[in-house]
Subunit: 267 residues, 2 copies
């Protein structure tokens, strides 16, 4: 199990990094690390607090950005639905869709998450998937003209409902499938795809790393939005590496809001 981390360089014999620089990379779940510099990226502390390099101004934010704008091809006036919408990626995706002029609906798994999405994040509608009985009815009410872009972080029955709720030429962006990560055996495949014919719709998977050559441009835009208050983020922070396993399990259970972080040293 690896994990992205932001760290400070305390000593360097690599010309690209100096003492005091902040770097991001898959540094491991540890307090100190020795690196030859490969796979590291400098973090610009002027863009925002360094923790944002793990969230809104890091992979989660970039995943939301390229998933919506490039894969999902969202346009102003469209309807966007997001599962896992209170998570690190989903909470940014919802706000980016709002910034782009879309109507946004999200689902998440607690009343507190729903309140945050409807309130601070500005979602137009939201439902709690743990207490909602009929996802298709919920989507039909929240998205009466159908879903133009479905940004899927979860898979499972919510996805089934969203695929059946697609508008003409709808797009499904497969970002995550957390409902299936622990599947013990290979599950059955698509059985609802006839609706893709009816709707001339598509389902597409992507990995954000494919857009690496445009990260800097995207981060500059998002940093502006964070600074002017249009793009909000939340972090769930636990202190001490000894609490990392519990935080990870909590995340898989959906206990975090926004990006789950472990602070292992003062900033």
């Amino acid at each position: 199990m690896t994990g992205g981390a932001v760290g400070r360089v305390v000593q360097s014999r690599n010309k690209r990094y100096r003492e005091g620089d902040f770097v991001h990379g898959v540094l491991g779940w540890q307090e100190w690390v020795v690196s030859d510099g490969r796979g590291l990226h400098k973090v610009d502390p002027k863009l925002g607090p360094i923790s944002t390099a793990l969230g809104v101004l890091g992979m989660p934010g970039l995943t939301a950005y390229f998933g919506l704008f490039e894969v999902g091809e969202i346009k102003a006036g469209e309807t966007v639905f997001i599962t896992g919408a209170a998570g690190a990626v989903g909470s940014i995706a919802g706000q980016l869709a709002r910034i782009a002029g879309c109507r946004v609906t999200g689902s998440a798994g607690s009343a507190e998450k729903i309140r945050w999405m409807r309130g601070e994040l500005g979602f137009d509608a939201a439902f709690d998937y743990k207490t909602t009985l009929d996802y298709r009815a919920a989507l039909s009410e929240a998205c009466p003209r159908g879903v133009d872009c479905f940004f899927d972080n979860t898979g499972g029955p919510q996805s089934d409902a969203a695929i059946l709720s697609l508008a003409h030429r709808g797009r499904v962006v497969i970002c995550g499938q957390i409902a299936h990560y622990n599947a013990e055996k290979l599950e059955t495949g698509p059985r609802l795809l006839f609706n893709l014919i009816i709707r001339r719709a598509r389902i597409e998977g992507f990995l954000v790393l494919d857009y690496a050559d445009r990260f800097a441009q995207a981060l500059a835009r998002m940093a502006e939005w964070v600074k002017d208050g249009r793009l909000k983020y939340r972090e769930t922070v636990v202190d001490g590496i000894e609490n990392a396993p519990a935080a990870f399990i909590g995340m898989m259970r959906g206990e975090n809001i926004g990006k789950q972080l472990v602070r292992i040293a003062p900033e």
Copy 2:
């Protein structure tokens, strides 16, 4: 239940059609029909025998053409897999992919169909889905570098295997889902889509009518290929409208090869 038909105009008070013209349209399963001309299209007998307006030079051929070239975006050197590959659409799709310089594998449901595909139609590989036990193994052998474009006419377990066999940036063209047309209740949705993330792949549905403004251009190209022998077609013809119901049921059972036709009057 409607059906496309080609007929000859025996009398006309519509300026667009003269006695003796051949027309195509959803004319019903009947020997004579009165029409106000809406939804009819002239059939050019110079392009080929008039029956081809129901097959290779009609909706099935156009569906294969736009599905592969526009939705599937096939390129020379790619690997294409087609289910229902001995049917009216699939048999054309396989040959069009060959004409485009692709390596083509198809599946169908009888030894005779497989022989036709491997022989006259020039498929590089083919397997009988009724006697093949492990579709993923069959695809792995036939498409060792993965499937770049999966043209799906069937759905079902063959589709599951093909989605798991996609190459990087693979495309799934949802043309038909015959395995699911008779589903008595709403079936479960996609459960294998994590592979779309890994492969950066997409699944897209389409209806050929969306390309209507380019039909003439496509038909002209395909008519050339038919004339020069690069594009072959086969028809399964029964005589007499009284045999239409049996022919229809036979088609649903996969008994036809190529386009299933009912001849209700001499040409």
